[in-house]
Amino acid sequence: MFESLETQSYYELLGVATDAQADRIKASYVKLAAACHPDAYRRSSPEHRAAAAAVFKRIVEAYRVLSSADLRTRYGRALSRGKLRIDPLARDSAPPTLRTLETLAVTPSAKQFARAADRLIGEGKLKEAKMQVMLALNCDRDNAQLEERLTMLKETMSLMGQ
């Protein structure tokens, strides 16, 4: 009785033809959004509400793409390559890199300590990590971002009763 969201194009989700006019797309979106908004299922089981929310979010995504001429053109190209979804906001394909303590450290020696701290945090050894961050701060004086992270680390430790 369940149908995968992942097998339908935005056009199929909204129930419109690939050459549908903007008015038609909007009318279909309004109708579907009202029907699938989780509030319409507030007396249903949590599973039903969650399913409705998942559909609602996807319908919003579909409308967002199909209601913009540029994105609709881009989506047409993606669809021809067999891609059913696009991320309208992703500008480049490279995933963003995350901030590590190492990237926050400035001097080479501080980076070395910070890298060790990154590893120790990953291993859950917060006390050892704290020591490394303090050593890094010793090399990188006045590094406010490292200071901030040290404070966060201490807070986390006190929360965990360490």
Partner: protein
Amino acid sequence: MSFAVGIDLGTTNSVVAAVRDGIATPLADPQGFRLIPSVVSFPRSGAVLVGRAAIERRVDDPGQTVYSVKRLIGRPWGTPEVQRVRGTFPFDLREAPGGGVGVSVHGNTYTLPEISAFVLRQCKAVAEAALGGPVLRAVVTVPANFNDLQRSATKTAASLAGLEVLRILNEPTAAALAHGPSGKARERIAIYDFGGGTFDITILEIADGVLEVLATAGDTQLGGDDIDAAVAERMAEDIFRKHKVDARADTRIFDRLRVMAEKLKRELSTRSEVEVTGDGFSGDRGALARWAFRMTRQELEQTSLAIVDRTFSVCRQAVDAAKLQLTGVDRIVLVGGSTRMPLVARRVEQSFGRRPVARIHPELIVALGASIQASLLDDEQPLAIPTIDADCLDVEPQDIEVLAAPPPPPPRPKPPLPPTSRAPHAEPARPDPGSRAPRAEQALPPASSRAPGAQEPSVPRRPPAAAVAPPPPEVAPVLIDVTPLSLNVETAGGFCSLLIEANTPIPCECTRTFTTGNDGQSTVCVRVAQGPSSRFADNTCLGELELSGIEPAPRGTAQIAVTFEIDADGIMNVCAKDIKSGRQKAARVQIVGTPADAKAIEAMHARQHAHPIADLSVQPPR
């Protein structure tokens, strides 16, 4: 039986309303007052005073009487908004544990959600007295441009007050809900909400009974208080001329001038000239002799014109975002006490080229809308489209003095008519129950033939409602709201990567894949912010998301999919998944400015329990 209510938690006043017998009604305290001043006063001993009992104490006991906390709730202590205004309040603001704003009274530091909780408890008490039963659930409204931190803080306040939050609702959306469908196929409505502390403009479209928010814009530091302050400045100049005393240098005198200015401003909405006298008020720097101040409406308008006109640049932002002109709006709804100034209505008409409507009382409309949403969301209430209490309808802005309202007459017998026949805005023809199923069927995402994959999110083949028996007798109007602010993550160099654009319908979500920057890195952190800027530091940082336990791998090869959700309350939820291992990661978000741990929340609850609020019957008559 317990009740659900709608609460407009305002900067200056709060209002609580409930739907009774299908009619949304503002609830009055035993003395007949519907506006509950958002003021909390802590006497040295005895119960905490809230509302009207507290408002006089702004003058008598300013250090222990807290007001306007909505301007600062959910803002981290270090932000410029807090630092700029902290000196202007006569009570002692200081940093609370966790980085938020606290108020120190009699040696206790209360966080701002705790102060708001006292106001909400008063709303709850007023509602319980009026309804005759426990009030356990509420829809609480917030300005449309409140960010995640401000919404979360408001939700915390409600839970401290013993209320289950059915929904955190945007104020303009509540106003639109109170106005109901027009009957036209498609209508664009501007909700112009000029309150005590904030200004909001929201452009909505109602099509086929579905309400869609096209755009919202606002200024959280622009309100009637600014007009009061400008008038108080003029008073201070006058005092300086006559008595050579600088009232601005004395917060106690200046605060008193602000109270007088507010009263003067209100009176000038109905009169052309008003004189106020301050007799012998004393400040830190000695007493001041009796002093009289006279102002005409024209002078008031000159003083406030620049403040009022700041609202229109915000309006233009909103219509731009909605791809409209100011004149392209079909209906303008005035909300908030400041719209009762004739100048405001006049400038609105000049700017939009259309006369605004004030069919529902502008100070009650938000609470009424919230109560309608509460009744629609509340499981214990029958599904029906509530209508608005006739007492709140067809008002001219200047015709009503809410604070002077007489005690309500004994409840009138309600005619046993179906709600639609009484409704000033009858719901457009609804399909009868028999036609419901086909409509629902049509609403389904078209079925596809492929079987669901085990890992894929799946959706019911039919919309859930159709699968649930028995079908609801009526489908209430669904409100499709939007998130007011863009959600961003920090990227290299202090810039933002946009996750969710402002004005996206909620609930919504966005999944992004992140990778590591170092070989063997097992922990990554992402900072999340809300705001319009592409520079991270210019937005409001919500907190830091920490992903730990990543499988060690060469840099750039680990892939962590992070899903950011904005729920129907406009509050952010985050979850992360390591794509390689398929493991769901514990994503811990350290939210700035709010106490993160259970201990702090427990302490807040304990402080609430330690302070009873004064009984409603001891509220002084005005």
